[in-house]
Amino acid sequence: MKSNKFWQIWDRAGIFVALLALVIILAIINPDFRKLPNLSNILQQCTPIGIAAIGMTFVIISGTLDLSVGSVMALTACVMVSLINVVGFYSAFLIAVTLGFCLGLINGLIVTQMGVQPFIATLGTMWVYRALAYIYTQNKPMQSADASFVTWGEHICYVPSLFVIMVLCYLAGYFLLYHTPFGRYVFAIGSNRRAAILSGVNVARVNLLVFALVGFFGAMAGAALAVRLWSAKADAALGYELMVIATVVLGGTSLKGGSGTFAGTFGAAILFTVVYNAMDMFQVQSYWQKIALGGILLLALSLDGLRRKRTIG
């Protein structure tokens, strides 16, 4: 029981301990890293993936996956930026988010109504949405004459407004997951689908909503990306889906479903950014950066795996 307790704490806090250690070490050995502007950069740089990871956490807890999130980010971002001139930022943003929600719904419908495995369904839509983004933009970079929206990318005394928004999103997600019946159903489905059905959970509807959430937060992330880049392009966020999934898993959410935490995802999102940032600071050759990222993932999960192996006995 005692060792269990320890591992429980480790499951929840391990990522933060690692993050804390990393930050402190880096801050001590690298003067550039510990500059305030740099740290606020880190907080800003982690927003797109961080926000996208919220939806992904939901979907992974419910025992499935969504590979289309990168494409959703690109498509919604392009639509948003292209519309800013026409309808202004706020309405454009609303439209983009609604679009994202709908794209998510489409994924959900394919999964629940057509009975397609989520991995394949979203793999398909990943290609389709990407294609739509290309077709919509005709590969021209989307820029808006009215550049007022970029003010969202600025800091308030070193705290990036995007990061604040991200934190708010996380609080919302946390509330949704732990304080509403819906959140409880998400866990139920991930843990035992048949039992969920027998308990009168409307599995199809919950699944649908989960995918819609991924789309929604995907759109938010897309918007964040556009705000950071002052522009959007059809090939933006290429391959982000895997990064996002990696983040969620590194945060301690099991791909088997039924268990997971938001705090973990949050920590993992920051951790990845810190690592990237540090590697730039130390002028690590970009080829080695790939290896480093893969290594971290392996390390983290093999620790986990070995532990599980031991407790199984």
Partner: protein, 328 residues
């Protein structure tokens, strides 16, 4: 229990943030009386072109006694932004950027300007941002050059048709689009038909396949222009596999003069390529940065765009050995 856990989570998060702030509190400014730093952010260290350019910048920096900091965008706008931000925080005095996404230059240039750091754009495009100067190799001109050459060669062979094809790079690379435009416009003027324009995603295997399909769709095609050299190498292979020659039967002209392309031309498999001078471009960029730091005035080849164009040259069977003596 659950409440307790959630509390512990939030506690940890706040702890992290606090500690960050605390650490920054004890951080000190880096002292100014050391040699000046030039930061270079490159599109992607995979194409030879940019590897050459990076070499140019690096070696010139060392030659002129600047400290050199480097970043690779890996063709990812978000990384370009964060990388450049990181360079700025590393206290560079001048920045040279070859942007993978010109339209996303805005925030970077603004940040740099706000710290009074001059920005030199190396090739590709300025995306309408407020940069100091852009050194750009004449991609459009190169396209035209390729068209002229192809026309000239095809005139010599009346038995061939007047159909040509274009292999395009991944959608939306500004420089590549310019090359394509240059070629297409010119070759049409010269009375040829661009029978097929297909994208081969920059890469060799796609180049090979798409070229094959192109030849199937238009068996009588007489020439293929490729917007970069990996694709042209793929095309050459496709032509050879079809039992034809890429010099005689289907003229393949590439762009970039990658080392591999030069080898292939020397080996007599490929007709021509357009040589850019990335090394010189890198060198030029550093010199300009130097002038800007010293506050000297610049002379533009196109003032309103603050543009300095670097001309390109055509490498063919005839002149390859004179420009590239010896093995690469």
């Amino acid at each position: 229990m659950k409440k307790l856990e959630s509390i512990c989570d939030t506690a940890i998060i706040t702890l992290v943030i606090i500690s960050i702030v605390f650490i920054t509190g004890c951080s000190k400014k880096t002292n100014p009386e050391q040699k000046k730093v030039i930061g270079f952010s490159v599109v992607d260290m995979q194409p030879n072109f940019f590897q050459e350019m990076e070499k140019g910048v690096r070696q010139t920096c060392q030659a002129m006694g600047y400290e050199y900091k480097f970043h690779d965008q890996k063709y990812e706008p978000a990384l370009m932004l964060s990388g450049c931000e990181n360079l700025l925080t590393q206290g560079i005095d001048a920045s040279i950027i070859s942007p993978c996404e010109p339209s996303a230059l805005g925030p970077i240039v603004k940040k740099a300007k706000s710290r009074g750091i001059p920005v030199v754009i190396a090739d590709i495009g300025g995306g309408g941002s407020d940069y100091d100067v852009i050194v750009i190799s004449d991609c459009y001109g190169g396209g035209v050059m390729a068209a002229d050459y192809m026309a000239k060669m095809l005139e010599k062979r009346p038995n061939l048709s007047k159909k040509v094809g274009v292999l395009k790079c991944m959608p939306g690379h500004v420089y590549a689009i310019r090359r394509g435009e240059g070629f297409t416009k010119r070759i049409r003027e010269l009375g040829f038909e661009v029978a097929s324009t297909l994208c081969a995603n920059d890469v060799r295997d796609q180049g090979y396949r798409v070229a094959q399909d192109m030849m199937t769709a238009h068996p009588d095609i007489a020439g293929i222009f490729c917007e970069n050299d990996p694709m042209s190498l793929g095309a050459v292979q496709a032509v050879r596999d079809a039992g034809k020659s890429a010099i005689g039967d289907i003229l393949v002209v590439g762009f970039n003069a990658d080392a591999e392309a030069i080898e292939t031309i020397k080996a007599g498999y490929m007709a021509a390529t357009i040589q850019q001078v990335p090394y010189e471009m890198g060198k030029k960029c550093v010199e300009l940065a130097d002038q800007l730091l010293k506050g000297k005035p610049l002379t533009f080849s196109n003032p309103q765009l603050r543009e300095i164009t670097i001309s390109v040259r055509l490498i063919t069977q005839e002149n390859v050995s004179e420009y590239f003596p010896g093995k690469q």
